[in-house]
Amino acid sequence: MIRHARNALAALAGVSLLASSVEAQGYRLRLDTRGQAAAYRGVRADSVPVTDVVLTPTGGFQTADGLFVRCPTGATHCFLFRPGPYRQGGPLVTSADLTLWGLGTRGLSVRVNGRAGLDLGDNDSWPGTDPPIQLIEAYAEYAPRGVTARVGRQLLSNRLGIVGVDGGRALVRSGRLGLTAEGYFGWGLARATALSVSSSALDPLDDFQPRRRQFVAGGAVGWTGRHANVRLDYQREVERESRQFASERAAISAELRPHSRWSLTAGAEYDLANTWFGTAEATLRYTSPWLTALAGARQYRPHFDLWTIWGAFSPVPYHAVNASVWLRPIPRLELRGRWEQYAFSAAEAETPLVDVDDDGWRFSAGASFSPDQVWTFDLGYREEYGPGASSHGVEASVSATPLPTLTLTAYGSTLDRPLEFRFEEAGVDVIGLDAEWRRSDRLRFALGGAHYSTDRRRPDASGFDWNQTRLHARVTLHFGTGADYAPLPRAVRPQRRAGS
């Protein structure tokens, strides 16, 4: 990985030098450093001789110090989970995102996105910081009118996911007809990471793992009209060693807009290897100045690569119907609500030994009120009940923008999250404070912290203290020209931010 990063940087430096004499050169560079300090405490598996456990009044066994144990029939030892050691995590990550254009050829640009990170805590305990240098993207793009070609490490985004590829991609489009066709190929990266499937960093369980990267190829055709658009995708991943499929899938995405206030969005994946439909959904949306309403139905089924055995274990999908409402009765007040009901398909593994829920629901409601340009108050309630775990709780936040460049947000939540398969009906209270200061368009700071207070309601002595405080800081620098200095509105909750 380091070798790849070094090569990419050398190529980038070369391009930069080459471009230095070009009058129209432009660039956009974002440097971003984030750090976090967090402590957490897990559990530690242990065992004790059968002779050391005592019978509890309820008929079970526990250690002398009150921890429940499990004593398999005929075994000489009983097993238990003791409170684990405190761990300190301190991830510190610097990201660089560079786009260069105006390189002497119209439509030619270069893009690099990479990260350097380490864990300042003990025992390299924070996930995602290994290896220390990770190259997310590094490609050259040539985009004359109607054609886009890319070569290098890139992320391909389509209905089947966002997959990283070291290779090439070509796209042809006809603006007049609204048609688009694209094809790509290359050596793939593992899902949702910048590392190859053979990286040891992806194998903390010491599991089966491919020894070489898979080959990825795919294509898509799409059409965009005034009132509709549709896209078909096909993608296959082939293991280079065995020449067998790691995945072969197709997908369709479509949107219908018969009226400015109505739209219908739908999509579906089909797994050609397992011969079943994967995740699919259809959503009908109504939008007016004061109301947005959605109603939809969907199916969710996880996808597993064929180099694992999980697909053969027949994961069953769940089917859901849902509805959402976003209401603005007055300009400064927003009310929101969402509800979903779902049920799993028959697993055909039901047994009277263990009663497992096979359906669930989730509900959330909230309100956001901004009495003026400075203050925003938000209150929300959410509850979900389903197989494995449930939760319900309240969350609230107050956001203030006392200066156009400064945003302060205080938040808090309280939550109960009973689990289905383990005695761990924990109550969690969270309070936190975030501050963001836009020193200028080019320089931003953020600082924050949160305290988690946990009430572990276990019937034995395993309900240990899990309270923790987390601190984080961030510095972002922008160079060059571009309109992306301003932060995007928050993805989940519409809260007013400086400059917006």
Partner: protein, 480 residues
């Protein structure tokens, strides 16, 4: 002399009228009380008819009687500066008119405008209606036709004595309340009936170029606006730039690109390129068709970068199909780093983003129920399993250790839970854990295949996977 004296009430009324246009003050002089002392208006206001004479009596004139013995002292001082007004009216002009009138058969006298009906020296301030009546304008003052304003008023730029505060108190005529005035109507009225590159005198009475430039960012290119003289006092009026009706359409955000391409001049009325670049990344041809913000040009409409209505509720959960089928629409406003912030999350990031603050405490329930696919953004091995292993949650080979202690026979009856939440299982369990029972070559040889299992197709696509459990003896044949 008699004629001059008869003009006194008129002159006083004129003066008061001028004063009313600027800063009004109460009439402290009781004319009726003095009616027998001053048979003619010009006795005190000689300047009305005689060039070079004072318009107002001096304090000494009053002191002839108000000397403290005959009558009480008064503190009168004549105004030291001309009145602040935009009236075209002058004393000399009207004095000449009256003089001509009195030598003829006109009935126009000082009393015509400034005396109440009960007789001479019943002085009052001249009212606008008197002007309108004489000048044959048969409407209320502010409803007068555009061509009439210049009869009595000079343009704002010419009314140099008015202060910014004076301008701010100009009353708004009824035409400004008419539907559509803020948009098409005021432009039509401004062009008036005159020549193409002239502006209505009515507009120029109260407004100047600076006022128009506050909203019209294309003011330098609009001849009608350029026909107005510049005057910074004109911005004393509150110019409220409201969005036209079309902008309130929920589909406007989606459609505005096409409208801007078809008619950039319409957008250029209020928007500079900065409006577009608030959200859009590229300075496209459509954007370049709008004027660039800079000196000499107003800022016009200020666009705030905000969430489109189409993104209103839970859009982050459902944006996938939209982004997939119409990626070019996303690219109009979003750059790739913004996608990567969520889809390739920074391990050191703790600020609320896709997940709200404190999501760590919610995540077991969210992960179990898979409201969304965690694996779209988090690699199960690098993120979930790595953290769970370090937290001691992974069994590492011992399956009957009792972690799932809420179900006494969980290991024996875990099948349903596993098929429903297999992604959650693999966040802690390795394939070896399962193969200890679910292998055709050893262990308890439990068959893990369930509904939807297509052995033939899977074997054809990847027979190597089959060998993990079946070795070389794959049911149905097929070479590993």
């Amino acid at each position: 002399m008699t004629a001059v004296r008869s003009l006194l009430p008129l002159v006083m009324a004129i003066v008061f009228l001028c004063e009313r246009g600027a800063a009004q003050s109460p009439d402290r002089f009781d004319h009726w009380q003095h009616r027998n002392l001053f048979p003619r208006c010009s006795s005190c206001h000689a300047g009305v008819t005689a060039a070079g004479r004072a318009l107002w009596p001096t304090a000494a004139d009053c002191a002839d009687c108000h000397d403290g013995s005959v009558e009480a002292d008064v503190d009168w001082q004549p105004p030291s500066a001309p009145p602040r007004t935009n009236l075209r009216f002058t004393h000399g002009m009207h004095a000449d008119a009256v003089r001509r009138a009195t030598t003829g058969d006109s009935a126009l006298t000082c009393e015509s405008c400034h005396s109440e009906s009960r007789g001479r020296m019943r002085v009052r301030l001249a009212v606008v209606q008197s002007c309108l009546n004489c000048h044959q304008i048969r409407t209320a003052h502010l409803s007068a036709p555009d061509t009439s304003c210049a009869t009595c008023h000079v343009s704002l730029a010419a009314a140099t004595r008015l202060t910014r505060e004076d301008v701010a108190e100009f009353p708004a005529p009824p035409s400004h309340e008419r539907a559509g005035f803020s948009f098409e109507l005021h432009g039509k009225l401004a062009r008036g009936e005159g020549k193409r590159h002239e502006v209505s005198a009515a507009c120029a009475t109260c407004h100047a170029r600076d006022f128009c430039s506050e909203c019209h960012v294309n003011a330098p290119e609009v001849p009608v606006i350029q026909a107005l003289a510049p005057d910074p006092r004109s911005t004393a009026h509150d110019a409220e730039l409201t969005a036209p009706e079309s902008h309130h359409d929920p589909g406007f955000l989606f459609q505005h690109g096409g409208q801007a391409r078809r008619s950039p001049a319409t957008c250029a009325t209020c928007h500079t390129q900065e409006s577009c670049l608030t959200c859009h990344i590229e300075r496209s041809a459509t954007v370049r068709a709008l004027p660039a913000a800079g000196p000499g040009r107003g800022k016009g409409a200020v666009v705030a970068r905000g969430r489109p209505r189409s993104h209103g509720v839970d859009f982050s959960e459902i944006h996938g199909p939209v982004a997939d089928s119409r990626p070019q629409s996303c690219e109009g406003c979003h750059v790739r780093p913004q996608c990567l912030d969520c889809h390739r999350p920074n391990p050191a990031d703790a600020t609320p983003g896709y997940h709200p603050a404190g999501f760590l405490s919610w995540h077991p329930a969210s992960a179990y129920s898979r409201e969304t696919s965690c694996g779209d953004c988090h690699n199960t091995g690098q993120f979930c399993a790595d953290c769970h292993v370090k937290a001691g949650l992974s069994p590492r080979g011992e399956l009957n250790a009792g972690f799932h202690d809420a179900k006494r026979s969980f290991l024996l009856g875990h099948g349903q839970a596993a098929r429903q939440n297999l992604e959650s299982c693999v966040a802690c369990h390795s394939e070896r854990d399962c193969l200890s029972c679910h292998s055709a070559q050893g262990g308890r040889r439990f068959n893990p295949h369930g509904p939807g299992f297509d052995a033939a197709t899977l074997r054809r696509k990847n027979s190597q996977m089959c060998t993990t459990c079946h070795g070389a003896a794959i049911p149905g044949g097929g070479a590993p």
